[in-house]
Amino acid sequence: MSLTIKYFGMLAEVTKCNEELIEVNECTIKELTSKLLEYHPDLKSKNFKVAVNQSLVDEDILITSKDEIALLPPFAGG
């Protein structure tokens, strides 16, 4: 399935894009993350959380093709 992955802040800097389309089989967040670290080795040194449909989620949940996936670096609001 096709998934759009959004990157923010320092992560967008590392991946050199705000979002990208990737092809994956059905998988968990954890499996997806491993894949993204392969594509973008520089992400390995970064601290981030994954949001699915705008909520932070457990890394064991399964992703479906309609999900909105985002990688979020540490927050700095305020």
């Binding site: 949001a51 705008q54 985002a70 540490p74 927050f75 700095a76 609001g77």
Partner: protein, 148 residues
């Protein structure tokens, strides 16, 4: 998307002006059941890091999620505290050192509710809202800000 009709846009472009804050205060003078306002303002600091001075922060956000989280913080605050009203504004884009990037305004009949609610809102925003800050130095290098 959840509850789009009731989700406000918290973001404003650039710094929040003192006059904007004054206007917001003035608008509450017709609400004569209010006895206490508590206002938090985040101001960009000219921190010196490795001998370089921060001149501005460039804010970005996962806007849709951030507005959703601001909305959830707002709902939770109203359910925990007895407030008359609450307003939150956050900057996007460049805010220079000395300028204001966050404006949280809570009002209640009584001071204790307003004061407790404000503290809660500010802490929740720091933890839950996906806003990102790029600290710009005078030599055009930068580093990414992290809340603590």
């Amino acid at each position: 998307m959840k509850n789009t009709t009731t989700i406000k846009n918290v973001f404003v472009k650039g710094a929040i002006a003192p006059d904007f804050i004054a206007n917001s205060i003035a608008k509450h003078q017709s609400k004569t059941n209010i006895g206490a306002h508590d206002i938090f303002l985040g101001q960009v600091r000219a921190d010196v890091i490795n001998e370089k001075t921060v001149t501005a922060i460039e804010y970005s956000a996962y806007e849709e999620m951030a507005n959703q989280k601001f909305h959830e913080v707002r709902e939770a605050t109203f359910s925990k505290f007895n407030l008359t009203c609450m307003h939150i504004y956050h900057s996007l884009g460049t805010v220079k050192a000395g300028e204001i990037c966050l404006f949280v305004f809570v009002s209640s009949a009584h001071r204790k509710e307003a004061i407790k609610a404000l503290e809660y809102v500010v802490e929740e925003i720091k933890i839950k809202v996906p806003v990102f800050g790029k600290e710009l130095f005078e030599d055009e290098t930068h580093q990414w800000k992290v809340n603590n």
